[in-house]
């Protein structure tokens, strides 16, 4: 492998820089995916049937916690990449660990929220509105959960082989994914929860 020392480690080989570009293209495909889910939600947003509306269902407390956790975790994954560029393996691992723990807490709150909804009789089968809500939130939550497993796998590799072109590349790509999930959440927070609470 030819290594280009003028570039950051994660871009240093042709394969690495192709992987990063390829992941950007993949995120390009994730945008229409979530855009379609949002469209479905907006089409369904007033179709309550006999079920509750967003205003009746949503509680701002847990949602604020979720937002706080995910936004902060986007900051800490940025710190992890910064530490990685400085060559500090320990700091990279610590910041990634914090990121993943916050991601896990986010998923925990979301699952608790889902249980609360179902407990109040608002299930996937109740109405078009709730089906679209569960699938939109669930797809985002599934992405975060998958990101958690993926992040753990990368942390083990970082811990075992240190900061190499391969692990640096994986960490960087993971950070892109994580930031993207944060952006999607900002849309969910604004247009599902805040708008729904109004």
């Amino acid at each position: 492998m030819k290594i280009d020392a003028s570039k950051p480690l994660e871009y240093s080989t042709e394969e690495n820089s192709n992987k990063i570009f390829g992941f950007w293209v993949f995120l390009g495909a994730e945008i229409p995916l979530f855009a379609t889910l949002f469209t479905v939600y907006f089409v369904m947003v007033n179709r309550f049937a006999d079920g509750p509306s967003g205003a009746e269902l949503f509680e701002i407390g847990p949602v604020l916690w979720e937002t706080l956790l995910l936004l902060t975790s986007s900051f800490t994954i940025g710190l992890a990449v910064h530490a990685m560029r400085l060559g500090n393996k320990k700091a990279t691992l610590v910041f990634m660990g914090i990121t993943l723990l916050m991601g896990l807490a986010f998923v925990g709150i979301e699952i608790d929220e889902f249980f609360t909804y179902v407990h109040e009789g608002a299930t996937l089968q109740t109405s078009g509105f709730l089906s679209s809500l569960f699938v939109l939130l669930g797809t985002h939550g599934a992405h975060v959960s998958f990101g958690f497993l993926w992040g753990v796998a990368i942390m083990i590799q970082l811990w075992r082989e240190g900061i190499s072109p391969a692990t640096a590349n994986k960490t960087f790509i993971f950070s892109l994914f994580w930031h993207f999930l944060d952006v999607v959440w900002i849309f969910i927070f604004s247009f599902v929860y805040l708008k729904g609470l109004m």
Binding site: M1, E14, S17, N18, K19, F21, G22, V25, F26, G28, A29, E30, I31, P32, L33, T36, L37, V40, V43, M44, R47, F48, A49, D50, G51, L124, Q125, T126, S127, G128, F129, L130, S131, S132, F134, V135, L149, W150, A153, I154, I156, Q157, A166, K170
Partner: protein
């Protein structure tokens, strides 16, 4: 467990199919064991990451699916050949036209094009492989397993029966209670993920791995068409992913997306399906345009007329393809404003398409045309496709469409677009690039016989349908009365279908004949080609090019032959290649089982398969595979051998 749900009852045809599948499987297993080919199959094909071999596997799968979809088509034509036929019952007819549509579009046209793309694109841009060879293998196996999952549906549990567009509420669990549409949602999902990965892979390959000197506006037209196609794939397929997921939720978990009660909205499905479905048409048509552009330039011995306008018209088509979806359901009541908008955008597509037609005609003008088999398909494409295009403009007029909607006129129209547009193109491309991959040409005389059978029979089959549609025969009706007067034209159409079948049999016979008797090609350039794929040997060595070529024109190989300038300036150095791996195949198999278990709502096995997929992904993440090197001496020796010199 309740075994009843796996069974399909009462159809002698299906029992026949089961027996033939069982016999074919036993035959393959016995044959592989007898000839001791298991190791060969595993090492050379199932584990390969070589873009050429993956491309060949795509094309073999596509040819098998062409056969399957073709048998479906013959059954439909036979059933409607005369009034009150009793060959198929209504349910079986529904299943046959549904699988015919799905297989021909998603498991024949698309993989055939992706196969040609795999074989040719890295060669045309002067690269050693695609950007992500392993991902490419994963794409193939996901496509293949999705295709297999759909194909077993008609012997295990029942095929989808609500049309290839699977409109709700017809496709809901209430009106389509068999597992057929579960297969639909899962088989398409699995192969769709594969296609999306192909899209990502080829965008990166084309944008980042071109030979030095090949700027975007010096790329061959086929490469341009594939780049645009893959951009459409990346933006259109996620919509299908969501639509199929919602369908699965509705059918398996009782959600209320497309239901008639509890706030569901059936029209949402139609919109989502066609937001993907119309770009999908261009995903199969644009690469075909690229193939024709290459063939016309090569066999007219001229550079392509209007290169820049060709590129821009494809870009405009790709943008418009996302703005026309509602023309598939003008009659479903979305109002005058919406219909007018979609009417205008649809008609606008005729403009860039017309630009392309004229560019091809001007390329032919004053060219030294040689009438080879691929060229015949190309020349037949232009007038036949124009009939398809003109009837398309007729259908695009929303008010007039109330007359044509869902009649045989529509069926005739889209076959007039898709068969010359996609099928002729892949056959032409198959003949054109066949010698590149296998080192010998398909026989031209037999090829022309097949061409005339296919081209004439195609018109005999589908032209009567325009009239049947205008007479009022709706599509998807499994039989009709004698008084309707539909009988004679349908009989004519059936005769044409038989002719098409004969044409395809001759085409397959040509592959067999040429494999045995055709003279072997020696210099890798049998057609006096223009682009880089002809500048390497046939069959192509694993590393494609011993030295990466330098490009400074749109027809680099032609220029180098005419001006006697060298394409290769550098010395041979060691070449890096990726290792083969069985993991993509295993991943594909697990996906197949995940799909199968979900179809039959077997939750525990499905969860096990899902965990299996995550484990496979983790294993692949932890693996460090740096590939291997072929030394400069070995490359030089291989080159000498391929040139026919003694080592």
């Amino acid at each position: 467990m309740d075994l009843e749900k796996f069974k399909v009852h009462g159809e002698p045809l299906i029992y026949g199919a089961m027996i033939s599948i069982a016999l074919a499987t036993i035959g393959i297993i016995v044959g592989l064991t007898y000839f001791k080919k298991w190791g060969y199959l595993w090492r050379e094909w199932l584990t390969t990451v070589d873009h050429k071999r993956i491309g060949v596997m795509y094309i073999i799968a596509a040819l098998l699916m062409l056969f399957r979809g073709g048998v479906d088509a013959l059954m439909m034509r036979l059933q409607t050949a005369a009034p009150e036929m009793k060959f198929l019952d209504a349910q079986h007819y529904n299943e046959v036209f549904t699988t015919h549509g799905l297989i021909m579009i998603l498991f024949m046209a698309m993989p055939f094009i992706i196969g040609l793309m795999n074989v040719i694109i890295p060669l045309q841009i002067g690269a050693r492989d695609v950007a992500f060879p392993r991902l490419n293998a994963i794409s193939f196996w996901l496509f293949f397993m999705g295709a297999m999952l759909l194909n077993i549906s008609f012997v295990v549990g029942g095929s989808p029966d609500a049309g290839w567009s699977a409109y709700f509420p017809l496709a809901s669990i209430e009106f389509s209670p068999t597992v057929g549409n579960n297969y639909y949602s899962l088989a398409l999902q699995i192969s769709g993920i594969g296609t999306l990965m192909t899209g990502v892979n080829f965008i990166v390959t084309i944008l980042k791995m071109r030979a030095p000197g090949m700027t975007l506006m010096k790329m061959p037209m086929f490469t341009w068409s594939v780049l645009i196609t893959n951009i459409i794939i990346v933006f259109a397929f996620p919509v299908l992913t969501v639509a199929l997921a919602l369908m699965m939720f509705d059918r398996l978990f009782g959600s209320q997306f497309f239901t008639m009660a509890n706030g569901g909205m059936d029209m949402l499905w139609a919109n989502l399906f066609w937001v993907w479905g119309h770009p999908e048409v261009y995903i199969v048509i644009l690469p075909a345009f690229g193939i024709y552009s290459e063939i016309i330039a090569t066999f007219s011995k001229k550079n392509l007329y209007g290169y820049t306008s060709m590129v821009f018209s494809m870009v405009i088509i790709s943008l418009l393809s996302f703005l026309v979806w509602a023309h598939h359901f003008y009659t479903m009541g979305q109002g005058v404003m919406v219909n007018s908008f979609f009417s205008i955008t649809t008609m606008a597509i005729a403009v860039p398409t017309g630009v392309k037609i004229f560019n091809w005609l001007f390329t032919l003008r004053k060219g030294r045309i040689s009438f080879t088999t691929p060229m015949l398909y190309t020349l037949a494409f232009i007038p036949i496709f124009t009939i398809g295009g003109v009837t398309g403009v007729m259908l695009a007029m929303a008010s007039a469409d109330y007359q044509y909607h869902n009649t045989m006129f529509l069926v005739a129209h889209f076959h007039y677009v898709l068969i010359p547009g996609a099928v002729f193109a892949v056959i032409a491309g198959f003949h054109y690039w066949f010698p590149k991959v296998f080192g010998f040409r398909l026989n031209d005389r037999i090829g022309k016989h097949a061409f005339w059978w296919i081209a004439i029979s195609f018109n005999v089959t589908f032209f009567p349908m325009f009239f049947l549609g205008l007479m009022g025969m709706t599509r998807r009706m499994y039989t009709y009365s004698e008084e309707s007067g539909f009988g004679p034209l349908n009989m004519l159409s059936f005769a044409g279908a038989l002719g098409l079948a004969i044409g395809f049999v001759i085409l397959v016979y040509n592959i067999y004949w040429s494999t045995r008797y055709a003279p072997r090609d020696t210099n890798g350039d049998p057609w006096d080609g223009r682009t880089l794929e002809w500048a390497t040997h046939s069959p192509i060595p694993a590393y494609n090019f011993a030295v990466i070529p330098k490009v400074n024109s749109r027809d680099p190989y032609w220029e180098s032959k005419q001006k006697n300038t060298p394409l290769y300036e550098d010395k041979i150095t060691k070449i890096h290649l990726p290792n083969n791996t069985g993991k993509p195949f295993i991943l594909g198999v697990i996906f197949f089982f995940l799909g199968f278990f979900l179809v039959f709502s077997m939750w525990i096995p499905a969860i096990v398969a899902g965990v299996g997929i995550i484990i496979m992904l983790a294993v692949m993440s932890f693996e460090r595979d740096h590939g291997f090197y072929i030394s400069a001496e070995e490359v030089a020796a291989t080159e000498k051998k391929l040139r026919g010199e003694t080592v």
